[in-house]
């Protein structure tokens, strides 16, 4: 919000100097002409007053450059580019638990939706949102969490369920929300049977007055006021935005260690092969555009990074990559967390395809390319030169 004030007449008069013939405007510039010489931009800057929330121009200014503030700040005029308002809820009327998957220490898209829904339930009655996740994600406050608590991971999901049951029993939240994801749905069911409570699972709508879900093979919709335990289907709520919350760290009560040995004897994770993951599902996509000419090298880089390969329309049009690899509105729309664009300027339809990506890394020769603007890390350089350097650096690390 920035409303400059200006007076074109004063701006002009401020620059006027005595002269014969045509009126002459001095801009501090040498000139042999008899025509007045103007610099409209400098004239305007000369009238600017510093210190106001909005840009302010003082018509009485003499044109001697920025002067000290005479502006009285008005509280109702927010300064331009102000950070979102921080909302504190020190004494909540009740608690809403949002249990996040937060794989790799970051909130997933569904986790953010759960926080958005939890925010809605909390704000309907002066409650506070408690985020429970394996880590303490730094984005928790922006995503709407008033409190943040660590719910440790364990190989045995039952251990985690016991810890959560202990937290629910101690803190007595009004609602507990999970994403209806693989891990979230599993945990919710373990908790529900331990507490012997109904679980309203896969809710597609959620508000303080109503939750709804499909049942009986998708023939009927069940609706009711939100019960205590709810899991949310993907896309049931919008992520929270606008206000920031403090995400103050909350220590959970220690749960009793399992009395007998776990029935889970061993656990071993096998990561997915990125080259076979569908582009639309991939977590990390590296994509080649016009600025890439060595596609063997590009393929090697994708393998070295463990990323799923994609491409721009231009590359697919030219037959250098299969059509299935095309990223964009008219190709595949990505759900990846990170998009690494090599030599892609970023046509609007292409950017549409990466709109959901949280992180973008761009390598492009044009500093002003849209992709460079979109990127969290942009390297203005020739992608063809960066690719081998990356492969070499990765190989060196691996060696």
């Amino acid at each position: 919000m920035s409303r400059p004030r200006r007076d074109p007449r004063a701006e002009r008069a401020a620059r006027l100097v005595p002269s014969k013939g045509r009126p002459r405007l001095a801009l501090g510039l040498a000139g042999g002409s008899v025509r007045p010489r103007r610099d409209p931009r400098a004239e305007r800057i000369a009238l600017e007053v510093e210190g106001a929330a909005r840009r302010r121009f003082d018509l009485a200014a003499t044109g001697q450059g920025p002067v000290a503030a005479v502006a009285t700040p008005r509280p109702d005029v927010p300064a331009a580019g102000a950070a979102p308002e921080l909302r504190l809820i020190p004494n909540p009327a009740f608690l809403v638990f949002a249990v996040a998957d937060a794989s790799d220490g970051h909130l997933t898209v569904q986790d953010r939706q759960v926080l958005g829904a939890a925010r809605g339930l909390a704000d309907a009655g002066g409650g506070a949102v408690v985020l429970l996740s394996p880590s303490l994600p730094e984005e928790a406050g922006a995503a709407g969490a008033d409190r943040s608590a660590r719910l440790a991971v364990a190989d045995d999901a039952d251990v985690r369920a016991d810890a959560l049951v202990a937290a629910i029993t101690t803190l007595g939240p009004r609602h507990v929300l999970w994403p209806e994801s693989r891990a979230g749905g599993d945990l919710a069911r373990r908790v529900a049977v331990r507490l012997g409570e109904d679980l309203f699972c896969g809710a597609e709508q959620v508000s303080a007055s109503i939750v709804s879900r499909p049942a009986k093979g998708g023939r009927v919709e069940q609706r009711r006021a939100p019960p205590r335990l709810v899991t949310l289907a993907d896309g049931a709520a919008a992520p929270h935005r606008r206000t920031r919350h403090e995400a103050r760290v909350l220590d959970l009560p220690a749960s009793a260690p399992p009395t007998d040995g776990s029935a889970i004897l061993s656990v071993e994770d096998i990561p997915a092969d990125p080259s076979t993951v569908a582009l639309a599902e991939a977590d990390f996509v590296v994509s080649a555009g016009h600025g890439v000419t060595d596609f063997a090298g590009f393929g090697a880089l994708a393998r070295a990074l463990g990323a799923t390969p994609g491409a721009s329309r231009m590359v697919c049009d030219a037959g250098l990559m299969p059509r299935a690899a095309q990223v964009g509105a008219s190709g595949t729309v990505l759900a990846a967390r990170c998009y690494f664009a090599l030599g892609i300027a970023g046509a609007p339809q292409h950017l549409q395809g990466v709109a959901a990506c949280e992180y973008v890394v761009a390598v492009n020769t044009d500093l002003h390319a849209a992709m460079v603007e979109r990127a969290g890390l942009a390297i203005v350089a020739d992608a063809q030169e960066v690719m081998p350097a990356l492969i070499a650096a990765l190989a060196e690390e691996g060696a």
Partner: protein, 679 residues
């Protein structure tokens, strides 16, 4: 075939009316109405979409139901009396023959129209608040007038039914009378039609109830409305959801056709009709949110330009029908092409806004890239084969040359196309380099794809000489060499750079730049944006009354927004009279176009935009040897007849596009189509 195409091709049934697929065209005002009736041109325009496989085509954007909502300013349709019914009957028969459905939009524009037109009645609204876009201060409606307008809506609905139309929608979007009652930004009433949202919804409710009584409960009546006015004192998203949910729950509407924004001023107008600077389907979240709340089908239009996006929107359940209105202006056969698996042959809308921009200055809707749209009576969408196969040589693969090559190849001729640059596209390649105008590159991309598919001998990187052309032993030579930028007529003009120098990347400027524009078109505005983005301090000077004066209403606000953000200084009403050096800088002398007062700027660079002058060397070299001395028979062109030259005596020589005189993309493509369709 594209992913999820089957979702688009499933029929949709609403209230006993089955629409064959999920692709539609929304009501718009192409300016083809004549005497308030949809006559032949209007009907043929929609018939082409019906032939092309569309499920539902809606015509008559803002068709008036009342005498104080004049149809004339838009060359639109008046449904205010029974004389329109026979036209509706002919129209619906024509569309139904091809299996498509036809609906109309009915409205009272309220304050969003003019008073100084056919009837000279004042405009009316819920409250007497002026709308910037229409520039009128409306009269506040009295209860008697409200009752009259409700009766007018009802009578119009009956006329639609009697005319055989499959249904109608009421416009409550873009700031028409019904949403002038809804929106607190207009409605300040204190009676039963103002105040609470329920009260503000009353007028619309009474209109819909009266229409249902008049047209019968089994007649399809929907509503077009905003899903979020996006103005501080307007309807919020939640208000709009509540309106849609309430009307739908009460059985007042059979479908909801949702869009985003409103249109009360220049910027709002440009946002509600999003151009190529916007992402694809920018407002899809609004119909989607309404779809979550209402049980009737939800339709949506707004920059859904490609079928992949359309199919995704339907398959994911965000909308029941997807409107591809401008996409059909670019290619009325897109559904048929989808069904036939020819999606690469679809001429995709690039979002230039040429169609809409023309109607808001009183013109007719024409497509920047498809010259047959709106000219169905004379221009073919499917080019018929010629009886005689000719050898055609075309020089220059800009839009004119590419279109000429495409049409000639479709005619079955043997075509050689010379292009001196390494890529086809001509001046569009320059225009597409500027910031948000990148999507223009879709025009030559499609044309080049067609030309390649049709077997044209495209010789890129080859400059055509007289000898090279004659070596092909042509029957017809078409010169489409385009234009070269003019440096203008100021004293010392040779010291200036042109916008083409900047956009092409031939020069990289820094420091202060005075940009002088005589054309008022996109070129200078785009160049100013490009320079400012790269750190130049730009002053944008024009002899016009304001900068970018010729850029249309859906594009100009986007230029202004970007230029203001970048701190470009606007200096209109100044003519460039002289450029001279001073030290290692330049002085630009300017003259006020009203007072003749002169002033100067000391700058690092002067960049000018004076349009283009024809590149016609090869034309003049060939002219004497041609049978027609390079002349086009204008009479034959206008009558739609072949050029009357005897090709047994030699070759005919023609020019199209900027090689003739600098104009625009549409002119080049139309030049080529109308000449070549009869070759």
């Amino acid at each position: 075939m594209i992913a999820n195409a089957d979702a688009l091709l499933k029929p949709l049934t609403l209230k006993g009316l089955t629409i064959r697929n999920r692709v539609m065209s929304t009501s718009h005002a192409p300016g083809y109405g004549k005497e308030g009736k949809p006559q032949e041109r209007y009907q043929l325009y929609h018939e082409e979409k019906a032939k092309g496989g569309i499920g539902l085509t809606m015509f008559g954007g803002s068709s008036s139901v009342a005498l104080d909502s004049p149809a004339a300013p838009w060359n639109q349709v008046s449904v205010a009396d029974d004389s329109v019914i026979p036209f509706f009957q002919a129209f619906s028969d024509r569309i139904h023959r091809h299996g498509a459905k036809l609906m109309i939009q009915l409205t009272h524009m309220g304050r969003r129209t003019k008073w100084d037109t056919e009837n000279w009645f004042p405009t009316v609204s819920s409250s007497p608040r002026r709308e910037p876009a229409s520039r009128t201060i409306p009269k506040e409606l009295e209860p008697e007038e409200i009752a009259r307008i409700i009766a007018d809506f009802a009578a119009a609905a009956r006329r639609c039914r009697e005319g055989g139309l499959d249904g109608c929608e009421v416009s409550a979007a873009h700031g028409h009378l019904i949403d002038q009652f809804w929106s607190p930004s207009v409605n300040q009433r204190t009676d039963g039609y103002g105040g609470s949202l329920a009260n503000r919804m009353r007028f619309g409710r009474e209109v819909l109830e009266a229409m249902r009584r008049a047209a019968g409960d089994d007649y399809v009546i929907g509503i077009r409305m905003s899903g979020d006015e996006m103005i501080a004192d307007g309807l919020s998203h939640e208000d709009c959801v509540e309106i849609a949910a309430t009307y739908a729950r009460d059985g007042l509407v059979d479908f909801v056709n949702v869009l985003g924004g409103q249109a009360r001023d220049d910027m709002a107008h440009a946002i509600s009709l999003p151009n190529m600077s916007f992402p694809v389907a920018p407002f899809l979240h609004l119909p989607s949110a309404i779809k979550r709340e209402v049980d009737v089908p939800v339709f949506h239009a707004q920059r859904v330009t490609d079928l992949a996006t359309a199919a995704r929107a339907v398959a994911d359940g965000h909308v029941d029908m997807v409107a591809m209105t401008r996409a059909h202006i670019a290619d009325p056969h897109l559904v048929q092409k989808l069904i036939e698996g020819r999606d690469d042959d679809i001429r995709q809308c690039v979002g230039a806004g040429y169609c809409i921009d023309r109607i808001y200055v009183g013109g007719d809707a024409l497509c920047i890239q498809n010259a047959a749209t709106g000219r169905e009576a004379t221009m073919p969408h499917v080019i018929p084969k010629a009886d005689v196969r000719r050898r055609v040589v075309i020089v220059g693969a800009g839009p004119g040359g590419l279109e000429a090559a495409r049409v000639c190849a479709e005619r079955g001729h043997s075509v050689v196309l010379f292009e001196k640059n390494a890529a086809a596209g001509g001046q569009i390649n320059l225009a597409a380099k500027a910031g948000w105008r990148e999507a223009l590159s879709g025009i030559p991309r499609w044309l080049a794809g067609q030309v390649t598919r049709l077997g044209v001998d495209l010789r890129l990187g080859v400059e055509a000489s007289e000898a090279a052309i004659l070596a092909e032993q042509p029957d017809v030579v078409i010169i489409a060499t385009g234009g070269k930028p003019s440096h203008g007529h100021a004293k010392g003009a040779e010291r200036a750079l042109t916008t083409a120098d900047v956009l092409s990347g031939a020069v990289e400027l820094s420091g202060t730049v005075l940009l002088f524009d005589e054309m008022g078109q996109h070129n200078a505005a785009s160049t100013a944006e490009q320079l400012a983005r790269r750190g130049c301090l730009v002053e944008f000077v024009t002899a016009d009354r304001y900068v970018a004066q010729e850029v249309g209403t859906t594009n100009q606000p986007i230029h202004y927004r970007e230029l203001y953000k970048l701190g470009v200084v606007f200096s209109p009403n100044l003519d460039l009279i002289e450029i001279y050096p001073e030290g290692n800088r330049l002085v630009a002398a300017l003259r006020n176009t009203f007072t003749d007062a002169e002033e100067e700027r000391l700058v690092d660079h002067v960049v000018v935009e004076y349009g283009t002058l024809p590149v016609d060397g090869v034309y003049h070299a060939l002219k004497a040897g041609s049978v027609n001395a390079g002349q086009i028979d204008l009479g034959a062109i206008v009558r739609g007849e072949p050029q009357p030259y005897d090709l047994s005596q030699g070759f005919a020589l023609y020019r199209v596009g900027d090689a003739l005189a600098g104009r625009n993309i549409h002119a080049a493509i139309y030049d080529a189509l109308r000449l070549c369709k009869d070759l």
